[in-house]
Symmetry: C3
Subunit: 246 residues, 3 copies
Amino acid sequence: MQLLNKPVNALTLELLEELRTTIVELEEDPQVRGVVLGSAVPNIFSGGLNLMTFYGADSDTLTTYWTAVQEMWMTLYITPLATVAAINGHSPAGGCLLAMSCDARVMVEGSKFGIGLNETKLGIVAPMWFADAFRAILGRKKADSMLILGELASPAQALEIGLVDAVVPLHQLQGAADEFLAAQLAIPDAARAATKRQLRLAQVEALRSTQAEDLDEFIRLILSPAVQSALGDYLASLKKKKAPKE
Amino acid sequence: MQLLNKPVNALTLELLEELRTTIVELEEDPQVRGVVLGSAVPNIFSGGLNLMTFYGADSDTLTTYWTAVQEMWMTLYITPLATVAAINGHSPAGGCLLAMSCDARVMVEGSKFGIGLNETKLGIVAPMWFADAFRAILGRKKADSMLILGELASPAQALEIGLVDAVVPLHQLQGAADEFLAAQLAIPDAARAATKRQLRLAQVEALRSTQAEDLDEFIRLILSPAVQSALGDYLASLKKKKAPKE
Amino acid sequence: MQLLNKPVNALTLELLEELRTTIVELEEDPQVRGVVLGSAVPNIFSGGLNLMTFYGADSDTLTTYWTAVQEMWMTLYITPLATVAAINGHSPAGGCLLAMSCDARVMVEGSKFGIGLNETKLGIVAPMWFADAFRAILGRKKADSMLILGELASPAQALEIGLVDAVVPLHQLQGAADEFLAAQLAIPDAARAATKRQLRLAQVEALRSTQAEDLDEFIRLILSPAVQSALGDYLASLKKKKAPKE
């Protein structure tokens, strides 16, 4: 499964819904036991949420969009499929969430790439369920510190702190991801999927049971003058560039 | 306290009840402040739950058995006694749970030995309270990954990830365990026991408050055709061997 | 902000209330975005709770005192201010809690200094919210083990386990703390403070919702004959010394 939404694989409403639908279809396909989630855009796994959607948006648009983010994540995070992220470059914010939602993560080498939840750098607050997924991988100390400081880790740093499970040259990325997938598939499917579900269900249920509040909080945050102003500045800075910053 | 139930110290109903009763008796003995839990069977601490009991079992047998597992753990995990596991060999699945329920763990060296929760390898799902005890020691990332993949750690690996606190040659095992026990007993008993209880009580209460559901889930899992079939295969493979696999 | 309450910066009722009041005032000062919490007493950050208050105390005194501890912590732990502890020496028990309540910790080098929750050594039980703050930094395994054994870490050990974020010579302590503060202040205030609050609020609410029970438990513990006797012995041993033990 390859993300393709140039120039930066932004998680647009369409891409989020396609992702969710594809996962559900693959779950129902008896031939499919697992999937490698990669990117067809060079040097970028995913730039994360579609900030374009947030700037000057109305409440209805934000509702539709954020609900799609929630639903995609709740589907991917506990899918019975074995999932491995093949991270071929940048993976900030929502891109990091996407990678964290898989069972394992392989990242391309290259100090210019970054992965992490850098929302605070943009003046935004990542919701608690992003933070919980981050904590589940990094532990509270490292996760909380990186979240507050909006830090991105290089592939080497990400490997050291356990945010990714392997770092390889680009030509080995697919092969390494396939190996991690094979390790998952060496376990009987039913036991693997039930164990994964059991370990992650509390987080999904925590969001499900507060989904409306989470949506309200998101809309309130995004529509605040401070965030709208920060988004405006950020988008203006992006327009000055031809390509995503590396 | 030495486990002795040849050939593999399987946690039979009798052994589970003896363990629980012994702990309660030691708790009531004013001469006893702590205990080293070891094994009198060479090269194996405990092979874990008694899979023989599961194959072709009826619901009543499973109810009696699983309740004994629950009760033993709820007693051992928050006992006011200081407890150290002296792990002299293999310690998979329920054997690992037993070791994890102590305050500290010392393991014999030897790359042929393994410790961990390898239930998925047998097509079984370790219940959430096994997983929580595992997470309490390893953190969520490492615990969840090992659980899903059913991985056993060698003594050296177990030391590196913190699953055991020391690895020593066999002739030093008892001495090392005694040292860990002495460190516990250097603390005033009442403060040590109250602190331990406070730190672990939430996990015990989580099981106590869902004990019936946990039992139902266990019975449903074990009686499922897939698990019965997997158990049959496993037991058939064991019968071909003279001794426990090392 | 410099703690000054000779000889050991004990957290007396007055110091606790001054701390809380000062934080609230700084929060309301638009010129102030963050604060370094240090000590004006050489070689000691804070000796922790004021054990003098506990020995032979009546229930009213303990109520007033413990409520001040609770309120100070609930204010400091989620203050929108960026906070860095500059730990210039010993920091046991309540001193460690104070340091842990900041966003980052810098400690002076010197193997004679110790930081940690050593309550069990005095026969006391640190409340669960101390333990949760400890776990948030160290993870459950390390936190629980150190808590039960009442261990203090040297600065070098504290750095290795992540209890402090840097260890420096004394003449660099303020500069290093300022650097950590600057890193926090490089993030937009609103996003930084909201993210911090979100990550720590559950712990504060856990105490807020059980504040009366926590108080009762504290009073019951402190007034128990065993603790009063241990406190008497401890205070007698302190009187034999001219200066705080190093």
